[in-house]
Amino acid sequence: MRDAFIQRLTDLAESDPRVMLITADLGFGVLTKFAERFPKQYLNAGVAEQNMTGLATGLAMEGRTVFTYSIANFPVLRCLEQIRNDACYHDANVKIVAIGGGFSYGSLGISHHATEDLSILRALPSITVVAPGDAWEAAEATTAILNTPGTCYLRLDRSSMKSTNLASERFQLGRARLAREGRDITLIATGGILGVGLKAAEQLAEHGIECRVLSMHTIKPLDTQAILSACRETGGIVTLEEHTIEGGLGGAVAETCLDAGVIPPKFRRIGLRAGFSSIVGSQEYLRERYGLDERSVVAAICDLLGQRFDKDRNESRISEGVAAEA
């Protein structure tokens, strides 16, 4: 996703000299070409995220569209008040890019686990929050946020699912992508974990469960229509996010359903319930550990639908990781 982003940004910067990229001292190898090619549109602001965000606001006020770039929590939590008061309140064209969503940097430790950003940022007014599910979405989202006035957040993660878009497909912010059709249940995923969702859906099909899969790449504004249709047209909703269960995608979907009084026949939120992970490991490992892997998702959906499935050692993990009862 990161590469898709920077590739697209390069094209955009080429055609529009007002597009700018500021990094907070990150992006070795990744941003080098961009920096060399567009020296006037690139800036390393040093390890100083608050200043980076303020700078971006000032530059945006002078007519630029400024992408700020860093890892995980740094461009978000470290400068949240700057995002809110400076960028958002001034409707500044600041586009915050965080690489390393979720457990992308799983082995690096909790400082690098970006697992609360969606809840935090969607609470802010005047911001668009986007978490693409694959490289194609990441590239398209880059163009889309450039063309969306005001402050936007782009959460990229490391997982590398093959993109599933059709050649003719058009990406639209705020509109969920139908990644797979099905009627038995709807799986709504945000971010790179979409790949897990799609694989789970394949497996479920083998169990005779036809799963609709929506890529909810835009968390704010939310595609309430797609959610309500899923409630009405399919057997229920399961949300999937590599993110805390509190206030993120699952929370937003729950709000939507209850606000509208349109209740999904079945409902489950899959996300992180265990708090900080002082245990480290690869993204794949941590997904498995916290019930966000393919097997756990399959098991959770079977369980929700009251279907037995070929369970070996999965059950205990399910109840630990994704137990729905609060």
């Binding site: 006037k40 800036l43 602001a45 040093g46 100083a48 608050q50 200043n51 965000t53 303020g54 700078l55 971006a56 606001t57 000032g58 530059l59 945006a60 006020m61 002078e62 007519g63 630029r64 008040e81 700057q82 008061n85 400076d86 309140y89 001034h90």
Partner: protein, 303 residues
């Protein structure tokens, strides 16, 4: 005279010739070379005492502290045009100590950005004129602030943008001394020097008081000028109530080419109203009744 109402007051033409000026403003008014900034500062002081009294709001001391700086900036220094507030070549001014918003509103109104009668709305229900300075619906305000330590970074961004675009206007950021506790400022200070933003001028309202106690007692800043210098800025210390030195310093900034300028303005919190001076109390307190009368009396034009 105890009612906090506005008397009509003539709008001063504040559009002075700018030292670095790049020519006429688009509004079509002829610039004048000398303004009575003393009178302007006095009117601004009267406004802020009235406004905070009417709104029963805090920060009158913080406003009085910068009235002279604001009067000289808008009366003599800034190349701005109230008729075209968004004029591209204007100088940018940011109040980073946003709690002195009343002083910005008063100065802008006196400078013709919007009717003085609007000042009556300050702090009132349904108004845009929030206690901390806000840009929404208020011509002439570049940046909304209120949380300390935001303005300098944004100003640095504006200054960098201007430089990259080959523009010649300047960016002024007015900060408070207590605000310099915030690390975000030191990030911006380090950055601005590294990028040689000599079109960026930080003015510190060094009134020696913060919210609860003196700067000295809270987090002492001395040797203050050394701090800025060691971060690569040119520094000048002046009397922040002396219009002549304010004018010459601010008009001629930058002090050195290739370096951002820090003007440490030694001021008195509450300046102009004797019983408000040097007092933390008047960071919060509102002048009402006799106190209001006494304050306004001190701010009357001298015979």
């Amino acid at each position: 005279m105890s009612a906090a109402r506005y008397e009509s007051s003539t709008v001063v033409d504040t559009r002075a010739h700018h030292a670095n000026g790049t020519g006429a403003r688009p509004g079509g008014h002829a610039p004048e070379s000398l303004k009575d900034t003393t009178a302007l500062a006095r009117r601004v002081r009267q406004h802020v005492v009235r406004m905070t009294s009417k709104g029963v709001s805090a920060h009158v001391g913080s406003c009085l502290s910068i009235a002279d700086i604001m009067a000289v900036l808008y009366g003599e220094v800034l190349n701005v045009d109230p008729a075209v507030p968004q004029w591209t070549e204007r100088d940018r001014f940011i109040l980073s100590k946003g709690h002195a918003g009343a002083c910005v509103y008063a100065t802008l109104a006196e400078s013709g950005f919007f009717p003085i009668s609007r000042l009556d709305d300050h702090y009132q229900n349904g108004s845009n004129l929030s206690g901390h300075v806000s840009h929404k619906g208020i011509p002439g305000v570049e940046l909304s602030t209120g949380s300390l330590g935001h303005g300098l970074s944004v100003g640095a961004g504006m200054a960098l943008g201007a430089k990259t675009d080959g523009q010649r206007h300047r960016v002024f950021v007015l900060m408070s001394d207590g605000e310099c506790d915030e690390g975000s400022n030191w990030e911006a200070i380090l950055f601005a020097a590294h990028h040689k933003l000599d079109n960026l001028i930080a003015i510190v309202d060094y009134n020696k008081l913060q919210s609860l106690k003196s700067v000295e007692e809270t987090l002492a800043l001395e040797p203050f000028a050394d701090k800025w210098r060691s971060f690569g800025w040119s520094v000048v210390e002046i009397d922040g109530h002396d219009h002549a030195s304010l004018k010459s310093t601010l008009s001629s900034a930058p002090i050195e080419s290739g370096k951002p300028t820090c003007v440490i303005a030694h001021t008195v919190k509450g300046k102009g109203v004797s019983f408000m001076e040097h007092s933390v109390l008047w960071h919060y307190r509102t002048a009402c009744g006799d106190e209001y009368d006494a304050a306004m009396l001190e701010l009357e034009p001298p015979l």
